[in-house]
Subunit: 340 residues, 2 copies
């Protein structure tokens, strides 16, 4: 690894989005006198009578959850996207807008209110993966749905309003910004090289072995060279699958194992239930082959120095570029030592 | 205004960045059970002996601030960008990086520790504007500096670690992501239409009069059609200036007046010292004419419903597109009623 990258300000290029991140390695030493977060560490009960996601409980809209035993999926009661929006296009001078249809779902990972993905067994996480596959298939086969975004907001600091282990799926008729960027980059590379951009990148990372945190037969957990968040990671399948439904049962288990390993390492890093937003980027469900897509899952955790000090993506980051203080390689070293 | 835009999920196009924002007007009704912010509302003293930005005090690195009387500018003691980085380029397979040189400064708006821009007189804000002009000129004339980003992080919730009224300037050798996007869009429009993209947009907004919050002789405060943050606003000069140094003394005062009006309205909105990140986007200092640039200042405030409930830009927003619940027009109505 080039030593300059560990010492001097530089920017790194994200091959998937075409954007840059500013890295300031020397700045990690700056004292922090700003806001401290409260990351709740108290033990939660396995069942909370007032939690609207616990099995058997009644939700705000009066519907009752079944007495589910593993994973439970339902349509979001306050969905940001709906199937009922009429079709409209607005193109008045420099004002441009269009209707967006969609379906939003909630995926409860477990009936156990006290657990997070990090606490579940690989067998239980595997059930979540199976549910994601099923939903991608189901939503994706709907004519009005051309993209299925699976994600999780974990922790109050990440805008999660209920600690019950759950994620979300927002599926919609057009491709969101981030997906458009990754679609363009992967497509350009595939057309030129007839191979997967992320697949080729993975080969280079395995060879270099500088940013790899964990590896099993089918998946690699790494911090991408261009990571933005202090402890950002990515789970990349070794095989060039375009979406999550293309993987075998064995690969499912290997994926669940990778999720288990990185979430457990995260919880150990600052000895807290580690907050993050995670998401799966995969091929649009627009009926095209999308051979250029190589699906992957990313974790964007906000914490920087401890369970209470996070990285703020504010002024410069909003108006300029994302900026990070510790390098990807420094983060990898710490996370790697925590994966058994 | 098309009624569909106030009722149904849709996306709006940002003419300056080429990206979209998802708008879900019906979703503002959803109850909030998540994290609450603490926006400190206690009165601060005019002078704080342990504040490293107050006049006459000693900073962490041992340097002493002068007994300044209005605006004071100094080089950031923990600068993310430095002039001393050696030049390097990395292009190894799919890893791409390059050194970034720069100068970071801190701009104290006033010696009075207790005040924010909203509390300063127009005459005092005018001094801040003059300092921004001087720094843009000074930094911009440095050979290694091709872009000057002026910004402010206000409030602990926006990562600000010192409540003393101050902003920052990060100037650097290459153009950051957001600036590249705006450069491309404005340039494409200018080449095609031989007029300013933002200037033409402003004319359309003045005509429609649906998103205008305040207007004086030289400036308009509006919420752009494509706003992301709940109460996002933009100060747009009526004249097609490429950067802040091109405005006359009268325009300076009118700009200070616009800043004063919108920051005061913000403070009234939820009866608190309203947090935000603000920034000025303007022409690069790369020696080119940059005639296509139309400088402007934007405010990105995180609060959504009250002084304690903010909008979280998390899972879907990080992996998909920014998303907002109240429409730009609803926000304008509230802000407009607060500007006298
Ligand atoms: O420079 P400060 O005030 O120490 O830091 C603040 O603003 C910077 C520029 O937006 C951010 O990178 C930091 O995360 C934030 O805490
Ligand atoms: O859907 P929730 O959990 O109520 O809301 C959370 O996730 C959404 C999707 O990332 C965000 O738009 C909200 O700001 C956040 O609070």
């Amino acid at each position: 690894m080039n030593k300059d990258l560990q010492e001097y300000s530089h920017k790194r290029y994200n091959i998937l989005t075409g954007e840059w991140v500013l890295v300031s390695p020397h700045r990690a030493k700056r004292p922090w006198q700003g806001q401290n977060e409260t990351i709740p560490n108290e033990q939660r009960p396995s069942y909370d009578p007032i939690c609207y996601l616990c099995a058997g409980n009644t939700r705000i809209n009066g519907e009752q959850n079944p007495k589910y035993e593993d994973v439970y999926v339902f349509t979001n009661d306050f969905a940001a996207l709906q199937t009922t929006s009429p079709n409209f296009f607005i193109n008045e001078g420099l004002l441009k807008a269009q209707s967006e249809q969609g379906i939003c779902k909630v995926v409860c990972f477990s009936p156990d209110h006290s657990k997070s993905l990090a606490d579940l067994t690989v067998i239980d996480i595997n059930k979540v993966v199976k549910a994601w596959q099923k939903e991608y298939m189901l939503l994706g086969s709907n004519d009005i749905i051309n993209y299925v975004q699976i994600f999780e907001n974990k922790g109050a600091v990440m805008g999660c309003s209920n600690p019950h282990p759950h994620g979300q799926i927002w599926s919609q008729s057009t491709l969101p910004n981030e997906v458009v960027k990754k679609d363009e980059r992967q497509s350009a590379y595939y057309n030129k090289n007839k191979s997967s951009l992320l697949g080729d990148y993975l080969k280079q990372e395995i060879q270099a072995n500088e940013r790899i945190i964990y590896e099993n037969e089918d998946f690699v957990v790494l911090t991408p060279f261009w990571a933005i968040w202090p402890f950002e990671t990515m789970i990349v399948p070794k095989h060039n699958h375009t979406n999550i439904t293309e993987i075998s049962d064995n690969e499912c288990l290997a994926f669940a194992d990778a999720i288990s390993k990185i979430t457990k390492a995260y919880d150990q890093l600052f000895e807290c239930s580690f907050p993050y937003s995670s998401g799966i980027h995969q091929a649009p469900t627009d009926g095209k082959p999308n051979t250029h897509w190589h699906w992957h899952m990313s974790f964007y955790p906000p914490l920087l120095r401890s369970a209470t000090v996070k990285k703020f993506m504010v002024g410069y980051e909003m108006f300029g570029s994302p900026q990070r203080d510790i390098t990807a390689e420094q983060a990898v070293e710490r996370l790697k030592s925590l994966v058994d």
